[in-house]
Amino acid sequence: MNKFKIAYSGCVILLAALAAAAAGAIVLKAVGASPIATYVTIFTGPTQDLFGLTEILVRAVPLILVALGIAISFRSGIINIGAEGQMLMGILAATATALALPNLAHGLLLPLVLLAGALGGALWAGIAGILKARLGVNEILSTVMLNYIAAQFYTYLLRGPMIDPAELETGSGTPQSMRLPHAAWLGRLIPGTRLHSGLLLALVLAFGVYLLLWRTTWGFRLRAAGAEAKAARYAGISVPRSLVAAMLFSGGFAGLAGAVELTGVHHRAIENISSGYGFTGIVVALFGALHPAGIVPAAVFFGLLLVGADMTQRTAGVPANMILVLQGVIILAIVSAKMYLNNAYAQEKALKWFRRLKAGPSPDPLKPGGRP
């Protein structure tokens, strides 16, 4: 049985990889690129040198943070699809705080800016939480809609009130904020690369989320309400309060992811700063089984995919947008493979099919007798 399980998992993963590769190859062929060269670049390109390796981690940091928040919300029975918007609100709050207090010391300003980011995301998510708890508004709907509002609000501020005055003077008008004061920058871990100390923060928080969910009374409450709201209510747990708390936590992590990306990488608010981390983070969270110990490696793996895809643009001559298509195909394949791996029913079916195959060619199931 165990041997079968291993073989089954191997087959599923192999089939999924082949399916993804085949579907991607068709797309790549259609735009005139070489599929094999592209694939080789995606998976081996980023691991060739130190820069590539650190870039993987740079991508992994926001993914870890977003995914941790998603894990909290999903475990608490509320599906937060709004991390993207919560990130943006976090970035705005962090930027505003940093620019408003340019003279504060590093040890004071940086924590304040990160906190502001978390708060911005938390409040934005809290709207969806309260709507769900008070009025029963479906959180998927509200968080997706809040994403749109956040995106437009962000663009408006960057093009108007928050635009860097220098951009107006020179007349170039690039929609971006002023550069943050140095006191609000996260330190670089390895000189010459973009890898910043946000990585350490993300790892510490990953452990923190584990403690929160499985070692504290708060986590107990959240998980109970998420796993069986009725039983939680009967046991005296206030489910609406738990939903709002989960959303605040979840949005806080997304907002923090934004603030870390801001203070660690870009040092100013720019357009497309979230680069879809808010959505990819959901996939990372599910891929990591909604557990910090799974989320960290999953985030690194997706970081590899993102960096590798970027490299193909330069080395294999694949148009930029095709990379998004490839990413989508790969994510789809991985997620569906995972569904098959965890599905006991599918496994049982495969086992039966396998046994019949072994029993001999086309046995009649209704035939009396058979193998003992």
């Binding site: 070692r215 504290t216 009374t217 708060w218 107990f220 409450r221 998980r223 109970a224 796993a227 069986e228 009725k230 039983a231 939680a232 209510r233 009967y234 046991a235 005296g236 747990i237 206030s238 039966k352 019949r356 199931p365 209704l366 035939k367 009396p368 007798g369 058979g370 003992p372």
Partner: protein, 509 residues
């Protein structure tokens, strides 16, 4: 699937063995059933009944052993094989789609009726009416499943299985969700149907076994320990064979000495889920050291009363008093904190969090007390120690206290809930159907624990549909009818007949 398999005249199982990791579920089982015969299969929770029947229905393959039909050996690879041979199973949890009609539900399972892009509903209807007429199972083919009562849904399940061509019916605890009236009705119908069918009837209610079956097979720890003619044995003898020892359900021998009033409802008005007044000026007082039985046909406000007392359902008018304090419309947490225990009706969804471990479920109400946490950190070691202690004391049978609560059998889930509630030493306990669907051994245990709590001075409001349970345990018996208490009797004055009349709304004053 082929509709008309050859008639089943005799089904024989020999040497059936099935092993799951760590458990020998079926151990060398032999039994047989003939046409026109009802075989009752009884045993405690976890004795291997369900596994055996799943093998017969083609859901599992046995590790060894043979199934012979009419003298020829057969082998079922999946449920369709079993159906093709005329073996049909009605599961304990109904397999019906609520927002489809009866006809649609039956047609769903009949492959033959799946034409290109549409279902042949006419043919399905014809078959349903034919089966309904032949077996006297009245049904409205156009009713939606959600509109039907549990008893009617049970009937639809039977018709569905018969439409699929079943000649040997396996009924897995068919009465566990039915009211007493519906149960009597079902037993009657099954008796009449059994003439041209074979029926295997799984139950642990021995009075039903006596009423319906011709022969009885008793399973214990995966092996057949008894196989004989039902009429030759009394329910007490069967119970003893089932558990391996004499079972005597404990009785409340005291006379309601009645201490201080603990929990009372005064002029309660509470609305049900559909917006009607489910409780209409209900008056009831529970005293310390007494068990107050609440008898009544289900749906007369029992559920709403339990929920109003525990703070789960808003009270529109009237008062809830607990230990002398007015606690109307306080939160569930406040009621729990004040010392009110609750064994809810739906143990799988209200009583436990199924995906939580047994030890987590055992502290579901107390995890944030100083005993199990400090500064928001859970004391995992204390939680585990608590679970081991309660597992021992309440005889909770699980592989480990780290097993998911939902993976336990119904009786053991009920013991988890009982352990959690009684360990809190509640001043008052509201117990709703505390032994529904649990086996005799567990029932005896739960009853004796409730009586022990009574002796310790706690008050218990026992809401049950089993008159015997109420009469055995109560000091006083209140009869609820249409949201009011019709009458309160001392238990000594209560008889089945008198309670039956009162439950039907006939006041004897």
């Amino acid at each position: 699937m082929k509709a008309a398999a050859e008639p089943i005249t005799e089904l024989k199982l020999t040497g059936i063995t099935k092993r799951f990791p760590g458990i020998l579920a079926c151990n060398d089982i032999a039994m047989e059933v003939r046409r026109g015969e009802v075989l009752a299969l009884v045993g405690e929770n976890g004795a291997g009944k369900s596994t055996l029947m799943s093998i017969l229905a083609g859901l599992y393959q046995p590790d060894s052993g043979t199934i012979t039909l009419n003298g020829r050996e057969v082998r079922f690879h999946d449920p369709n094989d079993a159906y093709a041979r005329g073996i049909g199973m009605v599961h304990q949890n109904f397999m019906l789609v609520p927002n489809l009609t009866v006809v649609e539900n039956v047609a769903l399972g009949l492959r033959k009726l799946h034409r290109f892009m549409r279902l042949d509903l006419k043919e399905a209807r014809r078959r349903i009416l034919e089966v309904a007429a032949r077996h006297e199972l009245p049904v409205n083919p156009d009713a939606y499943i959600w509109q039907l009562s549990v008893g009617e849904q049970q009937r639809v399940e039977l018709i569905k299985t018969l439409c699929f061509g079943a000649q040997l019916l396996i009924l897995d605890e068919p009465t566990s969700a039915l009211t007493p009236q519906e149960t009597d009705d079902l037993i009657d119908r099954l008796k009449r149907m059994s003439g041209e069918l074979s029926i295997i009837f799984i139950s642990h209610k021995l009075n039903e076994v006596k009423a319906l079956s011709d022969r009885v097979a008793i399973l214990r720890h995966g092996a057949v320990v008894f196989n004989g003619i039902t009429a030759d044995h009394s329910p007490a003898q069967l119970a003893a064979l089932m558990t391996g020892r004499e079972i005597v359900l404990p009785r409340n021998e005291g006379v309601g000495q009645g201490g201080e009033p603990i929990l009372s409802a005064e002029g309660l008005k509470v609305r049900g889920d559909r917006g009607h007044l489910a409780l209409d000026g209900l008056e009831l007082t529970l005293h310390g050291g007494e068990i107050l039985g609440l008898a009544g046909v289900s749906g007369n406000g029992q559920r709403e009363l339990a929920e109003a007392l525990t703070g789960l359902r808003p009270v529109e008018a009237g008062e809830v008093r607990f230990q002398g304090r007015v606690m109307t419309n306080r939160s569930p947490a406040a009621m729990i904190g004040a010392g009110l225990g609750y064994i809810p009706e739906d143990r799988h969804h209200e009583g436990i969090v199924p995906s939580f471990t047994v030890k987590e479920n055992l502290v579901l109400k107390d995890f944030s007390t100083a005993r199990f946490s400090s500064w928001c950190l859970l004391k995992l070691r204390e939680i585990a120690r608590n679970a081991e202690r309660l597992k021992e004391k309440y005889d909770i049978r699980c592989s480990s206290t780290a097993a998911a609560g939902g993976s336990l059998s119904g009786g053991n889930i009920q013991k988890v809930i009982l352990a959690r509630e009684l360990a809190r030493e509640p001043r008052a306990l509201v117990a709703v159907y505390p032994t529904r669907g649990v086996d005799m051994g567990a029932q005896e245990f739960i009853h004796s624990q409730l009586l022990a709590r009574r002796r310790a001075g706690g008050g218990i409001l026992l809401i049950s549909e089993e008159l015997e349970e109420i009469m055995n345990l109560s000091d006083r018996i209140a009869v609820i009818y249409k949201g009011r208490i019709l009458r309160i009797l001392p238990a000594l004055e209560a008889t089945r007949e008198r309670l039956g009349l009162l439950m039907a709304g006939v006041s004897d004053e």
